[in-house]
Symmetry: C2
Subunit: 397 residues, 2 copies
Amino acid sequence: MKLFHTADWHLGKLVQGVYMTEDQRYVLEQFVQAIEQEKPDAVIIAGDLYDRAVPPTDAVHLLDEVMETIVMKLKTPVLAVAGNHDSPSRLNFGSRIMKKNGFHIVGNLTKDLEPVVLHDEHGEVHFHLIPYCDPSIVRTVFEDDVVRTHNDAARKIVEEIRSKMDPNSRHVFVGHAFVTPFGEEEENTSDSERPLSIGGAEYVDAHHFSPFHYTALGHLHQAHHVLDETIRYSGSILKYSISEENHKKGYHIVEMDAAGEVSLEKKLLAPRRDIRTVETTLEDLLNQPINEDYVFVRLLDEAPVLSPMEKVRSVYPNAMHVERKNHSLSPMSNESGKTVNRSKMSDLELFKAFYKEVKGEEVTEETEGIFKEVLDELLKEENETGKISRKREYIRN
Amino acid sequence: MKLFHTADWHLGKLVQGVYMTEDQRYVLEQFVQAIEQEKPDAVIIAGDLYDRAVPPTDAVHLLDEVMETIVMKLKTPVLAVAGNHDSPSRLNFGSRIMKKNGFHIVGNLTKDLEPVVLHDEHGEVHFHLIPYCDPSIVRTVFEDDVVRTHNDAARKIVEEIRSKMDPNSRHVFVGHAFVTPFGEEEENTSDSERPLSIGGAEYVDAHHFSPFHYTALGHLHQAHHVLDETIRYSGSILKYSISEENHKKGYHIVEMDAAGEVSLEKKLLAPRRDIRTVETTLEDLLNQPINEDYVFVRLLDEAPVLSPMEKVRSVYPNAMHVERKNHSLSPMSNESGKTVNRSKMSDLELFKAFYKEVKGEEVTEETEGIFKEVLDELLKEENETGKISRKREYIRN
């Protein structure tokens, strides 16, 4: 049996205020094309189809289109679960009607845990679709007060599945959780993965998944396996944060043999626009060819740059962020060329440094004289009335 | 062919801050039961399935449950369109997948206008499902600049349908619009029908629908026919405003014969709690038996009532609104028993009337003396400083 394993589509996602919908459409077209060519027996989407409970209608439309193509046109069953970003009930709508046509989507956890059964020439494969859910839901659904953490919840769910598992079939677990080799370790968290819960109770021990021939996971955006080659994250279809800059995004093709042994191939998806860091001086940057990527620019210039985004966007029109290297801590040169922390510079030194930054030349004696005059006047007023401390603050900062 | 015609479910509706979900479930259970008994060939829902574009998850869950029962358990096709309260794209999700199982729902207008075709022993019946849409959408979809109003839009759509209509079949139009006998008249608007657009361009002339054997409409909450017996509103399933107090809510059973002639039966749905007005004095009200209806109480008492809602709810725990008859214009008695407009009463008269209202007895001379003293003092201060005009205003009003 051949399976496509993907997850974390996050349709409707905004990155730095930019909707990713067109970028998502771009890679999903490649994904659909691959389904057409490879003809897998099923497509697994392990949660976070949408980026939020109420996605924008464009995102709804895109998912509708993609699902319709996969299920109706390509006749390929889809096995999907809700992630922590999805609304269980909204995703669940129509699920029992669509099931008949091969679109199996589970938004809400239910007690029956009925697997979806698909067949190949070797027999049945049982897919256990477990949506992301808070431990309190597992506690309620199975009336088990012991369930407090996500790890407890996973243990409970797998116990329930095992209690009625057909030992002669092959089994695939589809889930959305923070699975680690030990269940308590923090790792692989990137900025765009919203924490499952507060307080460190979100980790799930990978050992729970040993009864399954393959465990298709979603939630962590980097493709990797946990503990065992058969317990895997496919990763997200796109980089959704600069912290994912070095990830290789794509999906897995999983081949399962008669004995349930899996072999795996990672396929890459080419993004419409990459998300990456550009570290350079402005001068060098302006000599680069125009590029549409979503770049995060770190300018190495010592001197300040006026309207940096405007300049950067003449080369990188979709630049998402510009910063100066270590800008927040950046020391400035004082008269003697030594770098000094700003807060330790005198008012006059600060003014001279500021003047040089803005005008690009040293203060003339005349200007220095005018500044001193104004400053003295202000300080005198301050001592007399105590009323201009705000202005003084302004000058100092 | 036997059809159930319903519309305007408005799942997720709040009436005076109260969610109607349980009331909706209550009547929908009767509706589903009737489908089980009557075994119609199809159920038409002519728009406004939800009350808003993003309904609460309870409402999504309720619609999901009802649709699943009708389509999957009772094997009865559903023919539904989006109304002006629905989100076209959200309602459209999965529609082409669910179509295969007999759940035909059209959220977005598309150019093809492919009818849904059902069969009975006499042949085909074509259902033309036209969602509510702004004239601008019709203008764009059909690239016809002439379309400016809803009436233009309906004319255009019907023209398009007619151009490829099978003359040997029977035809049913399912739509959501403000249809009147002339296309410009304002009628039957109740508070809970949000106007389709501003400026009087929302009316659709019923004459457009003459090519159809039956026109199943939604939008107006009162069941009625327009121009012809075959052009009909089913009305909403519940009263959604006190302005609908005298409506009889239910649905239509439409029987269509071989020639496309229809006969019609109106069926009522019994609400869990009625919405109605109670007009009585508080004393009489407090002697009535406890009743769970959503009442709007108009108290006939001349004297003011302290904490009226609290008292009313001891008998009508679900009372939605309490007012005194003509309260805003209510005259008050002055000393001589003559009724006088408050704004013409002197400060002293106002105080005495207020005192009597609150204490139920006349002001004693001593109290009157204290009031005069305080008032004089305030007025003196006002003349001196002009600063207490706000206090003075407060006393006057």
